[in-house]
Amino acid sequence: MTMELWTGALQAVLALVAAPLLQGWIKWLKAQMQGRHGPSIWQPYRDLFKYSRKGEVISGHTSWIFRAAPVGLLTTTVVAAMLLPSPLVAAALPAMSGAAIGELLLFVYLLAMGRFCLALAGLDAGSSFGGMGSSREMYVAALAEPALILAALVLMIDAGTTNLTAIGETVRQAGWDWWSASHLLAFLALAVLVVAETGRVPVDNPDTHLELTMIHEGMILEYSGPSLALIQLAVWMKQWLLLNVWLQVMVPFGQGWMFAGLFCLLLALVGVGLALVESFFAKVRIFRVPRMMGASLMLGVLALLARFVQ
């Protein structure tokens, strides 16, 4: 049990440290693609540092929920990070590999709990933007969840477990045979969901405060100072975790530094992909988001079908 706690702690620390870097990388790439000079890769760290030193303004209409929410959000995210096995940690401490708890369903619903905290916070201040952001966030989440479970189901059935560590082990043993038609469909379904869950174009635009379009930014509009820092860090961590999961159910990583390097490389490449999507696609209207989620759901259904015909 201690072993698992230590591993978990390491994974959480890694996520805390690396998540802003991933965010910085994507932002930097996007700027390059759009022909801007853009902020440096390290800017997210500087932002966090800056926020934490600033004072905080809290509206008089808010309750304790408003102050508790960022803590709740970060806590759930950190716990989720503790669950998720990481190739990097496994490479650094081979003795501890396989010790992560890695319960996939728990992981998904911990993140959902974080979302719940944020949505409450958005409502709490009583501003119209916050309420709108919260309602939109829950709308997207409600659509994404069945699709996510369906797509994950295919992978979980084939691995015979809901444990991410065990799934990773199955993937490793299967090698590239893991890439069957049904799994391909599941990966695609998950890709759509990852984009939606990380609040990126075409579902949400992370860079704007335009009231008509914002989802995530709407919810956190009232926040400033250290609270904002907590929220931002949690959101970036969530992005890191989701991409992690996605890559790990998809690519057969072995153990050792070579695979850790490969993992980092792929993560960087996925960042390129996200930046490309953000540069070349427009954000869709909020009422067309169900279509994207529907497409993902259909991919999940097809994946399940293809799985059972074989």
């Binding site: 045979d177 890439w179 069957s180 038609a181 391909l184 469909l185 695609l188 279509r291 529907g294 497409a295 259909m298 991919l299 259904v301 097809l302 079908l305 293809a306 059972f308 015909v309 074989q310």
Partner: protein
């Protein structure tokens, strides 16, 4: 051969997308992507199974379906269509849902008849059948003459894929004949579409409603 199945599945996704698509030029792009995937299937079969005439088939596929036909289609589009947006019979969402429902049905049907086929076929058979039926669905749900041709070609793609995966293609002479027919049929349909444009001033097949009874 798992690779063939994956490529086939991507082709299936392209076909589903085609049913809900509502732009003429994207339909042609879609067809080109399908043809490219088909060429890939041919190459994989050639390499994996060591069937040498499949290299020839892949080359023919590439030249005819990836290069020649899309060029001809785009040329025809530029000449005859000013508006690339179509009015399909069904809304894209309904059409796509219908397409997926069709695929689901095919999977269940294939699952229930239990053919004595090896593992390669059992995965690809429903995929190919779905692509074939989606081709027909495309023809039903669109009014433009071009889309009918595209639907037909989609059907043929499904057939080619099945033939390549199950039997490593037909005997080469048959394969040549089929290619010849496909090419000629595309040319003739193109000619007919052009005549339609001249006579009816439109390529909507809705106008073809004189002959009854």
């Amino acid at each position: 051969m798992q690779l063939v199945e994956i490529v086939g599945t991507v082709l299936l996704l392209a076909a589903i997308w085609l049913v809900g698509n509502r732009r003429l030029d994207r339909a042609v792009v879609n067809l080109t992507i399908q043809a490219l995937l088909l060429t890939l299937v041919a190459l994989i079969t050639a390499v994996v199974a060591g069937v040498h005439h499949m290299y020839g088939v892949a080359l023919l596929l590439f030249l005819i379906k990836v290069v020649a036909m899309p060029m001809a289609f785009f040329w025809a589009l530029r000449r005859s269509e000013r508006v690339l947006e179509m009015q399909p019979v069904l809304s894209p969402v309904v059409a796509t849902v219908g397409a997926v429902a069709l695929v689901v049905m095919v999977y269940f049907a294939v699952g229930s008849i239990r053919l004595p086929v090896p593992a390669v076929m059992s995965g690809l058979l429903p995929v190919s059948l779905s692509v074939i039926l989606l081709g027909i669905l495309t023809m039903i749900t669109h009014r433009k003459a071009l889309l009918q041709v595209v639907g037909l070609m989609t059907m043929e793609n499904g057939l080619f894929m099945l033939a390549m995966a199950s039997t490593f293609g037909m005997p080469f002479i048959v394969e040549l004949g089929i290619f010849f027919d496909v090419l000629v049929s595309a040319v003739i349909m193109g000619g007919l579409t052009h005549q339609m444009k001249v006579v009816f001033a439109s390529t909507d097949t809705d106008r073809l409603n004189q002959l009854r009874g």
